[in-house]
């Protein structure tokens, strides 16, 4: 697996506060990686360290194979970044921001750069706002401009810190569509609080809590691991439920009353194939119902982090 981002024991301490603790994270190449965690988990700190805005207390990281502590400028020429609260010179016009950014990444004639600016304006849906001053933009428009300046250099990696925060549903949809449209062009590493959005577009997930990674992996494996099934058996079910517990791919069997059982499995594929035959054929259980309990990213996130986590974002 080619990694676009790798961190090795990354840690950050602000006086008495440990913002990051021994972070070992891998973001595979050519994925959309959702970076999740409650406020104050250390997501922004991680991204700022990766972008060279902050320095780790200990540990290091590699982006696109280059160490961040020695090749920062080289890395930044291949990475686009959107900060949590993108800010530009207020007197700049939209096209000036994009032209300025384009000239930092790309070489070419003024006309060629202007064509690239036009392309990007179309892409972010701000073509009709090109001549407007930054200070006159709405929050959503400024966010899209932030994404525009991040993508204009055709980066190999996009790091987006809460790209859809503060947007109305339409703005959020537009930003998500934009990210989806970019997935073939760059690895995208983005943080978000909106779990539905992450589940919709991410194919890799990293969950951070109190500065520590508590889960990371491909989305499919993420949702698949720990899959659960609801089984309703006529009568008590005899020995079938107990027999299930002996199977290597079953991680738990829990009775919830009235012949209803919830079966947790470690391998969803095997469970789909084996669960019904084991119950019916091997143990003669009369099955009234067998269906997967659909787990969402939110179930996993809440299970891992706990509900109601609040705090200051760092």
């Amino acid at each position: 697996m080619n990694a676009t981002i790798e961190t090795f024991g990354l840690a950050k301490r602000y006086r008495k506060v440990e913002a990051l603790k021994n972070l070992d994270m891998t973001v595979p190449a050519n994925t959309v990686c959702g970076f999740l965690g409650p406020n104050g988990a250390g997501k922004t700190t991680t991204m700022r360290i990766l972008m060279g805005l902050s320095r780790p207390t200990t540990g290091t990281a590699k982006i696109l194979g280059s160490p961040i502590d020695s090749d920062g400028l080289s890395i930044r020429s291949r990475v686009g970044y959107l900060s949590q609260d993108p800010s530009f010179y207020p007197r700049f016009r939209v096209h000036s921001v994009l032209r300025f950014a384009a000239r930092r990444y790309l070489s070419g004639s003024r006309a060629a750069i202007d064509v690239r600016v036009e392309e990007t304006l179309e892409q972010i849906g701000l073509a009709d706002r090109a001549g407007r001053r930054v200070k006159a933009l709405s929050g959503g428009e400024r966010q899209r401009l932030g994404i525009g300046q991040a993508v204009i250099g055709r980066p190999e990696l996009l790091i987006l810190d809460e790209p859809s925060v503060g947007l109305d549903p339409e703005g959020r949809f537009q930003v998500l569509s934009l990210i989806e449209s970019l997935r073939d062009q760059a690895t995208i590493f983005y943080s978000s609080h909106i779990l539905d959005d992450v589940q919709r577009i991410a194919d890799h997930v990293v969950i951070l809590d109190r500065g520590e990674i508590i889960a990371q992996g491909p989305m499919e494996q993420f949702l698949g691991s720990g899959a659960r099934y609801r089984v309703v058996i006529e009568g008590t079910g005899g020995s079938a439920p107990q027999a299930l517990q002996g199977l290597p791919w079953v991680t738990g069997v829990e009775g919830v009353g009235d012949g209803t059982w919830e079966v947790s499995v470690s391998n969803q594929e095997t469970a789909e194939r084996e669960l019904m035959p084991v119950l019916a054929r091997d143990h003669g259980a009369a099955i009234r119902e067998l269906r997967p309990l659909v787990r969402s990213l939110e179930d996993i996130y809440v299970g891992a982090v706990g509900a109601g986590e609040v705090g200051d974002d760092r």
Binding site: L53, L73, Y89, Y105, S107
Partner: protein, 280 residues
């Protein structure tokens, strides 16, 4: 996407001053035209200290006012420079634009060097524009004899940092006047370097402004206490201005060289400090 893709190669050059020209363009737009205009207007306002009493109040003994105006102009240039350059680094940090800049492939040294160069050029331009506008006005005043007065009449103004004047005062010639302007511009550029270093090292804008104000105070104190020993320093430029206003030969080479070297050292220190700074 509707427009056709254009093959634009990525810039491969990697050095600490990458992006300097682009940043210089941005910073020049910060100083020109408005900040420079403010500095020029502040300087021209000084002329009003002569013009208004002369034209409106009918005051004839304007010599002391003329000399005060020169001293006041120097002070106004220095204070305005401190005030306008106080947010040169911290303004971007407070606004959040610094994160945008640093996250792009722009070297941190390029950002500081461009800010210093644009600010120094801006205040320098303002000094020469103001000086150029004031010179004919002072000439006009001199022709009417208002700059001639006796030592007794000067007694009230000899505490001024401009210095000790002779029995009669005449306006400096063009060469001397330009040397004076050069000295004032360099003093302002030196203060820019001080402010850039403070802004790169300290988080509080109030503290930066307060410490910045101490710099001209030290200059004046150094000039009063040890001007002969501090020729090869910015204090020597204060001496040059004081000599120039008395139409005496102005020695700027040594103090100018020392001030430029010191300013470059301060900016280099600022680059080092900014390179290590955590950006929020």
């Amino acid at each position: 996407m509707t427009a056709e893709r254009v093959p634009l190669p990525r810039i491969e050059a990697i050095h600490p001053f990458r992006g300097y020209i682009g940043m210089l363009g941005v910073e020049m737009r910060v100083w020109f035209p408005w900040r420079v205009a403010i500095l020029v207007l502040a300087g021209l306002g000084i002329f009003a200290t002569i013009y208004i009493p002369w034209q409106i109040a009918g005051v004839n003994q304007l010599g002391p006012l003329f000399l005060w105006s020169m001293a006041l102009w120097l002070v106004v240039v220095l204070i305005s420079t401190i005030s306008l350059s106080e947010g040169t680094v911290l303004g971007d940090i407070d606004r959040g634009t610094i994160s945008w800049l640093v996250a792009m492939p722009i070297g941190r040294p390029a950002i500081i060097a461009a800010k210093a160069a644009a600010a120094a050029f801006g205040v320098g331009a303002a000094v020469f524009i103001t000086g150029g506008l004031l010179y004919p006005l002072y000439n006009m005043a001199a022709k009417r004899g208002i700059t001639e007065f006796t030592v007794d009449e000067l007694s009230e103004v000899t505490e001024s940092p401009i210095g000790r004047w002779g029995t009669y005062i005449s306006l400096p010639d063009v060469g001397t006047y330009l040397s004076m302007l050069f000295a004032i511009a360099l003093l302002a550029a030196f203060l820019v370097a001080v402010m850039i270093l403070l802004g790169s090292s300290i988080r509080s804008r109030t503290a930066v402004f307060g410490l910045g104000l101490a710099a001209p105070a030290f200059l004046i104190a150094g000039w009063v206490a040890a001007r002969d020993a501090l020729v090869a320093s910015p204090v020597g430029l204060v001496t040059a201005v004081a000599e120039g206003v008395q139409d005496r030969p102005v020695e700027v080479l040594v103090p100018a060289t020392a001030t430029v070297a010191l300013s470059i050292a301060l900016v280099a220190l600022a680059i080092w400090r900014f390179g290590r700074r955590e950006l929020s």
